[in-house]
């Protein structure tokens, strides 16, 4: 095994409303569009949490993004603490056709910061995605300008308008997510060495060494 090859694992959490006055914002769809290049209108409601991983090049560096999808209904958010820990970036998703999902963004930010308690809450990287721009323009309820303003007011959170269905802006958004997460990760690199997930061979040797005679 090439142990000298430095591996970076970036943990990304996707948050956003589900079930309010419209459909959910499309967290699972965005994740699947990005990782698997697939779209389906029939993803089951997420229960608990799951993640997908994707290799991505950021500034000539190969990193693995671990993208976490969680249940959207606020009721299940108390589970968050288990999943948010060690996050490198938090993606906030709203539905551009559902004002309420946009209005909730603030509380998602608070919720996340409380539960994940990152070391540097003020500079922790968020990215905001306004999803479902493929839906008829006449149904659009949250303008790009309004969203931009909000993001600026929160200290310049990057903002993208996306369509998981049509694969619009998804790649670009996740590139930014990866980049910001990596910047975050570099800050805390000192701590991450212990967590290299690749060292299987050594672990196994220890496991079986005891009984080989």
């Amino acid at each position: 095994m090439s142990a000298n090859r430095k591996k970076v694992l970036l943990k990304v959490i996707i948050l956003g409303d589900s079930g309010y006055v419209s459909h959910c914002v499309g967290k699972t769809s965005l994740m699947n569009q990005y990782v698997n290049k697939k779209f389906s209108t029939q993803y089951k409601a997420t229960i608990g949490a799951d993640f997908l991983t994707k290799e991505v090049m950021v500034d000539d560096k190969l990193v693995t993004m671990q993208i976490w999808d969680t249940a959207g209904q606020e009721r299940f958010q108390s589970l968050g603490v288990a999943f948010y820990r060690g996050a490198d970036c938090c993606v906030l998703v709203y539905d551009v056709n559902t004002p309420k999902s946009f209005d909730s963004l603030s509380s998602w930010v608070d919720e996340f910061l409380v539960q994940a308690s990152p070391r540097n809450p003020d500079s922790f990287p968020f990215v905001v995605l306004g999803n479902k721009i493929d839906v008829d323009e006449s149904k659009r309820m949250v303008s790009a300008r309004r969203a931009h303003q909000w993001c600026e007011s929160k200290g310049g959170i990057p903002h993208f308008e996306t369509s998981a269905k049509e694969a619009i802006n998804v790649e670009q958004a996740f590139q930014t997510i990866a980049k910001n997460a990596l910047a975050m990760e570099s800050d805390v690199e000192l701590y991450s060495d212990l967590n290299d997930p690749i060292r299987i061979d050594n672990d196994s040797t220890t496991d079986f060494g005891g009984c080989a005679c």
Binding site: G19, D50, T64, A71, Q73, I198, A212
Partner: protein, 874 residues
């Protein structure tokens, strides 16, 4: 004349009704080995013909222990198969159960098998077995044997077997050779390996192989040409069966001096002084497995013609299986931990299987490389073809291995699949030796207690078995009721029957209406008709509360819920035919997909429930719980009430404060700590907080983990509350137990475990899981009882010695009590079942658990209650 299939081969009838515990506690009585006495050849004496005659001393020529007779799926009798010489030239082949052999005699049997100690031990003639000891024991003169059918070990049947067909036309029961349990075989192998270490050790001995060889040294043995593994004895006059060509019928003595010619040096063995039979062995083993070293592949690829020149075709194992067994033996030398071993090496076997059969490996090459690098695999690597070996050194493959996604989780999945296959190839009665505490060799150490004498016993009787059987048919279901439609067999009986076999789809609707509490168990058909009517009206009234009230329909709160329901119904079980098509326009204004009748009914039921249970309302996940109930019941009104009954027990899962889920996860947590401390410790080390990876399982009763049909069957079982009102937690434990070695060995982080568990969805074998869950329940119960008893004994000790001046002794006893596993109200509630609860007709686990909890809270001396509070989540 083909061998007859003896009558006793038929399995015993599946257990029914009252004898549920008979299988669990009492070993099934074997059926009689039925040989009509007078039809036997004079030299063949069946066990029960002389009950008290002492045996005639005979020279033991060969014996083999751990040869099993298996009268039924659940019964196996270990015995010794022996060849003895009663007087010069008068040979007997005998089998007797080990239980009938006295201790000192057993040693003789074991000693005699060694080749270097040419067998002159006198033993009683092994025909004298009383009927009570075993109806299967037999002894027969070799002349009375017509033929022997052999089944070498195969991938389907891990142990080889043989059936002896007598001249009289009768047959013996199959004798199963459990070579890996036989001390003599193990000894023999050790000796063999020392002596032949320089020789390429490709021959693998199995019992049937040996016995045929020994017989061949005494009488004429020929292999049948027509039937795969049939060996004909005493065939001088060439009878009905066509046999191998004459040249293969050379006297065996010739073969000693003239072993089959091979490329590789048989000369190496010639200098050694060995008994004639062992040199025969060796000569033959070259004939059997003429695999030119070092290439393992060469041996496998050898065409059958290459061995055609041997004296006769011995009962050869499938070369593949031979190699696998060989691998097992070799590894066994290195890793003495047999239980762990069988799982850990499973991957290795199967890897080898894939390699030699040329089948595609269903895993990227990177994983193969990983396996080749694995310490357990290393002994195998030299056996693999060069092309596969080179994989391990391929840079691309190495690089791929570094990728996070293809690493541990993937490897673990693969390993689990292989371990599973390997387990399934074990004989049925061996399969569950690995379940729960019996499969966990480090358990004792973990608890540091010697309290579970009963549990640690190796005797099979202490190992609970499952009682799973076939589904309850609609005829059976109807037979439970009398003419008035009143249950005539008792509610516990019905629950047990459904628990054990699930329900046929036609019987399910009625049964679920009882199980969900819509119909009382003691109701008559007439009463149920009234209930139907009354429930229909009640439902319609509830439905009107939202449908006919514009203020409700327009309220923001209701609209929110309505949309949530719409959205969820449109993504619930859409692959099930009932909900698949979209032939109606969607009435919901914001929905742009079409709908169908059944989806609309499901929405209505959920909206009505939202009104019915105002406090809780609709929560995501409920649609998953309703669709099966609706699909089974179909009538909207009754489906609603069945759902209400179901939700009574499930609603705590959806509480706003998540207290219900926390409670379940906490119970699960304690159960795991109690049942599998090493897995628990591993999960702790990986920071797998509060078993969150089980969240989805428990929230919707495994709805996402099994196929639609399996879910219906699983819920049949869970609805019964037969063993436990929380049997679903034992199902969860069973799934974890099935994967515990893989989790411990391969998964080091919380996220890996979560991913692994999530990805188990739709790969879990329901039957296997239910069998395991039942066994785990019984283990749990046994352990609880053992701990309780121990605690009581220790407390009594203290009480009975109030005057113990020895403070130290007092303290020791107290600290012993402290070391016992904590049992709290949550753990105890796992033993609640349908009969222990007063409210069997209105299943509400919540109220039950609460009452149990408060009961226990009152008894403050239960130290574990403090423990419960301490470990509760904030």
């Amino acid at each position: 004349m083909p061998a007859r299939i003896p009558r006793w081969l038929a399995l015993p009838d599946p257990p029914t009704g009252d004898d549920f515990y008979s299988l669990y506690s009492v070993i099934h009585l074997p059926r009689r080995f039925n040989i009509p006495k007078n039809s036997l050849h004079p030299t063949m004496e069946v066990s029960n013909s002389h009950t008290d005659t002492p045996g005639v001393p005979a020279k033991l020529l060969f014996s083999k222990s751990k040869v099993f007779v298996k009268p039924s799926a659940n019964t196996k009798i270990p015995g010794i198969l022996a060849i003895v010489e009663r007087s010069p030239g008068d040979y007997l082949l005998a089998w007797k159960p080990e239980s009938s052999i006295a201790g000192d005699e057993a040693e003789k049997f074991d000693e005699a098998v060694s080749d270097d100690n040419p067998a002159t031990v006198t033993v009683p003639e092994p025909t004298v077995i009383s009927e009570q000891q075993s109806p299967y024991a037999f002894s027969t003169g070799l002349k009375a044997i017509k033929s022997i059918s052999i089944k070498p070990p195969s991938l389907n049947q891990w142990y080889g077997s043989m059936v002896i067909n007598f001249q009289s036309g009768e047959s013996s029961p199959p004798l199963w050779f459990h070579d890996d349990e036989s001390p003599s075989t193990i000894l023999q192998r050790k000796a063999g390996q020392e002596e032949t270490s320089e020789r390429d050790n490709n021959s693998t001995v199995w019992g049937g192989d040996e016995i045929i060889k020994r017989l061949a040294s005494l009488v004429n043995v020929q292999k049948s040409n027509e039937q795969g593994y049939l060996y004909i004895l005493n065939n001088e006059q060439s009878l009905a069966l066509p046999t191998a060509p004459v040249k293969k019928q050379r006297p065996l003595s010739a073969s000693y001096a003239d072993p089959p010619k091979l490329d590789k040096e048989p000369a190496k063995t010639s200098g050694r002084a060995r008994s004639s039979s062992s040199s025969f062995n060796q000569a033959l083993s070259y004939g059997i497995y003429p695999m030119p070293p070092p290439s393992f592949m060469g041996g496998i690829a050898l065409p059958p013609s290459a061995i055609g020149d041997s004296v006769f075709d011995p009962p050869r194992m499938d070369p593949l299986v031979a190699t696998l067994k060989e691998a097992k033996w070799n590894l066994l030398e290195k890793f003495s931990q047999v239980t762990r071993f069988s799982r850990n090496t499973a991957g290795t076997y199967l890897l080898t299987v894939h390699m030699v059969t040329g089948q595609t490996i269903n895993a990227p090459s990177s994983t193969s490389a990983q396996f080749l690098d694995h310490p357990l695999t290393r002994p195998i690597v030299p056996l693999l073809p060069p092309s596969v070996q080179s994989l391990a050194n391929n840079e691309t493959v190495k690089a791929t291995m570094d990728d996070y996604d293809s690493a541990r989780v993937f490897l673990a999945k693969w390993a689990a699949g292989l371990a599973n296959q390997s387990e399934k190839s074990e004989p049925f009665d061996q399969r569950y030796r690995h379940v729960g505490i019996w499969g966990h060799d480090d358990w004792e150490e973990e608890t540091a207690l010697g309290v579970f004498e009963v549990l640690n016993s190796d005797s099979d009787n202490s190992i609970p078995v499952h009682t799973r059987t076939s589904p309850v048919t609609v005829e059976q279901w109807n037979s439970f009721f009398d003419e008035q439609g009143v249950l005539s067999v008792g509610e516990p009986y019905v629950r047990a029957a459904i628990f054990r076999g699930c329900l046929d789809p036609e019987a399910r609707k009625d049964a679920w209406l009882f199980l969900t509490g819509v119909f009382p168990w003691n109701s008559s058909e007439e009463q149920r008709e009234l209930i139907r009517k009354e429930r229909r009206d009640a439902y319609q009234a509830l439905k009107k509360q939202w449908q006919d009230v514009p203020e409700v329909m327009k309220s923001e709160e209701f609209c929110e819920q309505k949309h949530r329901i719409d959205k969820d119904v449109h993504r619930t079980d859409r692959s099930v035919s009932l909900f698949a098509n979209e032939n109606l326009p969607n009435p919901g204004s914001s929905m742009y997909t079409s709908t169908n009748h059944h989806m609309e009914v499901v929405k209505d039921i959920l909206c009505t429930y939202n009104v019915y249970n105002k406090e809780l309302g609709y929560v995501q996940g409920m649609s998953d719980l309703l669709t099966p109930v609706y699909a089974v019941v179909i009538e909207e009104e009754l489906a609603f009430w069945a759902f209400v009954g179901f939700m009574d027990r499930m609603q705590a899962n959806f509480y706003r404060d998540q207290s219900g889920m926390h409670r379940q996860l906490l119970t699960m947590d304690m159960m795991l700590q109690f049942m599998d401390p090493s897995l628990y410790k591993h999960l702790e080390n990986t920071e797998s907080f509060n078993l969150f990876f089980c969240f989805r399982w428990l929230l919707v009763w495994f709805k996402r983990e099994f196929s639609w049909e399996d879910i219906l069957s699983l819920w049949d079982v869970l609805f019964t509350d037969h063993l436990s009102t929380q049997f679903h937690l034992f199902v969860a434990l069973a799934i974890l137990d099935q994967h515990r070695n893989v989790i411990i060995d391969h998964l080091k982080h919380f996220d890996e475990i979560l991913k692994y568990i999530n990805d188990l969805a739709l790969t879990i074998d329901l039957d296997e899981t239910l069998q395991r869950a039942e066994i785990l329940f019984h283990q749990f119960q046994q352990r609880m009882e053992a701990v309780d008893k121990k605690k009581l004994d220790l407390k009594k000790d203290i009480k009975e010695h109030p005057g113990w001046s020895d403070a130290e002794r007092r303290m020791n006893t107290k600290s012993e009590i402290g070391k016992l596993p904590h049992i709290n109200a949550l753990l105890r509630s796992l033993l609640d079942n349908s009969t222990s609860s007063n409210s069997a007709n209105t299943p509400s686990t919540r109220s039950r658990a609460n009452s149990v909890l408060s009961d226990d809270a009152k008894s403050r001396d239960d130290d574990s209650f403090v423990h419960l509070e301490k470990s509760s989540p904030q």
